[in-house]
Amino acid sequence: MAKGSGCSMFKDLPSSRILKQITRLNNIAGTTESAYKFDQSKYAKIELFLQQRNIHGPAVGLKKFWRLNLPTLKFHNDDLQFVLTRIATESKADVAACPSKIIVHGVDPKDNLEIDCAGKHSSVILQELVKATGAVGVPADEIPRIKTPQEKESWA
């Protein structure tokens, strides 16, 4: 059996149990480059549309965005609704027609935004989302960081 999980979300983590969990928690909390706060009075819901199976090519960016960046955004915007809709596809024509996009629902329907994510890298999708919604970066002192035992007193 191959060492380590095949799933990319859990790769490159320390093998010690405590360090692995601390790294995961800190990854969710994010860094100044990945943590943004949306204007909750203006936007109510962020909806992602993604293919159900065999994600490859144009849909990969959005999938990575969902797994890597979205948890950090949810962590800092707990009251905002995040919805993911998977679209089942049967034939190659369906796959080609399957949308890969983000719809931001505003409190006022006039503020609704749509961002097409086909073929884009997850970091590009994040930047576009931040720019379109005018999200504010979370300052470093507001991002909770859990210290490893080496940084604290040791856990006997």
Partner: protein, 275 residues
């Protein structure tokens, strides 16, 4: 160390003259060394005591300690986008058993159950049927209910429990093929057939059974779409049930140690579970 170094004469040959070579240390690995049972017992005891010490420490001193609202914030973030049904939040407890003590077992009544339980009651007596409906049985009835199930008018998929009074048991054989495979056949052996259906319903509907397995006890306490208060209430109910299921006055109680909160895809954190 020195005991492993021995002079070995090893013959190296390929059919021609033997050339003996002297090696400075034993080729037999250290695992084949004769074991000293006393040292092993001492080491095992020391290890057990260290584990006990670790589990007795206050959860707040653990590097992964978080309060439940903070933990839920991380878990909700980790489960973002997943359908609500797949986001089970559960707790995992380390239980160190004392020698000769029974494993922890019992039931928890959650204020907000993770799975809504639906009960079906069969009885020929009308008062029992009426009482069952009062207590919240999804379906309650006598022969008419059996007829309805036979005709397929009743949705059996949502039902989790079924009870009956002894008088109607023989009539249930007609629909045994339909309710049997779903585990909904009331049987005296199972304890689902009794005159006092009311007591049966109160006991099992809404109860989640738990059993300690070796050194761990794990139960689901909610989902990520529950609010923080609901999760806290469920945790409190679970805590009372688990700490309370040891009969009072036991001289050797099981030591309940570290408790971790985790979700299907989320990380696992240590929480303070004690009442």
């Amino acid at each position: 160390m020195l005991s492993n170094i021995s002079m070995n004469r090893v013959a190296v040959s390929s059919g021609s003259r033997f050339i003996s070579a002297i090696r400075l240390f034993s080729s037999t690995p250290i695992t084949y060394k004769p074991k000293n049972p006393q040292n092993d017992a001492k080491r095992k005891l020391r290890r057990e005591q260290a584990v006990k010490q670790r589990n007795k420490q206050a959860p707040e001193s653990h590097p992964l300690y978080l309060t439940v609202p903070q933990a839920m914030r991380y878990l909700r973030a980790a489960e973002v986008g997943q359908p609500a049904k797949k986001t089970t939040v559960s707790i995992l407890m380390t239980v160190l058993p004392e020698r000769g003590s029974k494993p922890l077992a019992g039931s928890v009544y959650f204020p907000k159950p993770i799975k809504e339980s639906h009960a079906m009651v069969f009885s020929l007596q009308e008062e029992v049927v009426a009482k069952a409906k009062e207590l919240g049985a999804t379906y309650a009835g006598g022969l008419e209910l059996i007829e309805q199930i036979k005709n397929g008018e009743v949705k059996l998929d949502i039902l989790t429990h079924a009870f009956a009074t002894p008088d109607i048991v023989k009539d249930l054989r007609v629909i045994a093929r339909q309710i049997g495979p779903k585990g909904l056949m009331p049987a005296a052996k199972k304890g689902t057939v009794s005159e006092d259906v009311e007591a049966l319903m109160k006991e099992s509907v809404g109860a989640f059974p738990f059993k300690q397995k070796e050194q761990h006890l794990s139960i689901p306490v909610g989902r990520c779409d529950f609010s923080d208060e609901e999760i806290l209430k469920n945790l409190k109910a679970a805590s009372e049930a688990i700490y309370g299921c040891q009969p009072p006055g036991t001289r050797k109680p099981n030591l309940i140690g570290q408790t971790c909160l985790s979700s299907t895809l989320g990380p696992s954190v240590v929480i303070n579970f004690k009442l």
